[in-house]
Amino acid sequence: MSQQLYTNLAIFVLSLLVGFEVMSKIPATLQTPMMSGANAIHGVVVVGAFVIAAEADNIWFYLLAFLCAFFAAVNVSGGYTVTDRMLGMFTKPKASSSNKNAGGDKQ
């Protein structure tokens, strides 16, 4: 085994452990935002899109690189945006915001 493969394997295993541990006992109401937040993080695949785009050297590879970049960009940009929006709903609304909607105004 090369030193490099060992590095990759070790960090893979340790990251799995971090992932298992960080997720213990999430309150049910935060499970959906948490899922969305994790979803945004795997948008890191966009880094891979850069890597393959740099290696592409014919039309088929350009196409694959385009596809990868498009997919990854949707994931990462949409993922963070929607998570941020959703988490906004879980914080206490400020007294300032105007209520266009029907009822339930601040008391």
Binding site: V18, G19, V82, L87
Partner: protein, 471 residues
Amino acid sequence: MTALQTIASLVYLLSAICYVIGVHMMRSPKTAKNGNILSGVGMIMAVIMIIIEIINDGKIDLGGWTALIAGLVLGIGYGVIKARKVPMTDVPQLVSLFNAVGGGAAATIGIFDYLHVMPSTSISLIFSIPVVLDVIIGGTTFSGSLIATGKLSGHVPGKPITFPGAKLCNAVAILAMLAAAVLVIGFPTNWWYIVLALGASLVFGLLMTLPIGGADMPVVVSLLNAFTGLAVAFAGFVINNQVLIIAGALVGAAGTILTLQMAEAMNRSVANIIAGGFGGGDSGTSGAAADVPVNVTETSADDVGLQLAYAHNVMIVPGYGLAAAQAQHEVAELAKLLTDAGINVDYAIHPVAGRMPGHMNVLLADVHVPYEQMKQLDEANQMFPNTDVSLVIGANDVTNPLARESGNAISGMPILDVDKSKSVVVIKRSMSTGYAGVQNPLFSEDHTKMFFSDAKKGLQEIIAATKQYLD
């Protein structure tokens, strides 16, 4: 390692730390938003670093730049617009869509590198194994997630789709996938095999997701989220990039645990769900027949209005039916009417009311229900004994006292003690059961009255009636 490689490695490590701390902060409502921002900062760092790396490398050509930039611009545009416009309750299908593209991107990386690097270098297991794992997990996630998105958004029927021989097809797909994987590893120079692996995994993703009912989808989406993470981690092995490995493994593991917790919160097992589950389907589809004849007292909008107008403490108990009927505005309107008349109104929010965790919080926050009025399970249960009228709107399982007994599908699930309030009004369309398919004895209790109606329509009538009595 060169100086730049060193810097890059450290930056990637730092960005990985941002993800971990970000996720950690998302565990509590107060820090959650900042946690997501921190994770985003990590992401930006990683992207800037890779840009510097490829520019410094100088290998990328015009075609590469064009493909890259075109893909990114279109992708970001599409992603941001989708994410901005989506109604909050449609988040699961959006997450599922992002799982699909994430898995697709990971699979694309595997295929690209396989086709690009493979012929030129000596064939090694160290390369072919991660490629195969990346491609089959990525492919499964891609098609599976698209089906899940379709089911959740209604483009694909939500009910479990099965057909004669479905099991056989499934077995064939799995075998084909495994066979293709072995072939790629065994004969890495024949690129047909990787195409076969991809094809088989796409079919498998499809067949895996189709038989699962729409209501179970949030759990499936969470599971596919974990899959995507793993696919990304293997893509990281393929291109030897540590940030992909760390972030991917993190999401893979965290997503798995999250999936288990979600399933547990709704008293299901993941294995059960993947195997097709018990009731399956939406409550509308599954819980059709009320198999136990029950004596219930019906009521009218007028009566309910009277009851509410003369109550001191009202507790609103929203459930899936409220979301299904899109009646959140009406609820808020009714609540405002009552609070303006000096009546105390609160909402009893069950963590798994609705069809995704936190569904009701999101729904009500969206129509600006004051935070203070939303009572979580424990707090609400302390308030029921002093509640004059509990108004149950399209909720069923989360109020079912049978959960306190053993031997049924919801045994042991914590419930809202609606039956302990002084009187109960239930708005739903019929006597059909909810998600779990269990009859609810609350409905036939003496102090419970049923108002059979669509939630939106029923609430509008109640609002009108209540106004009358408050004037």
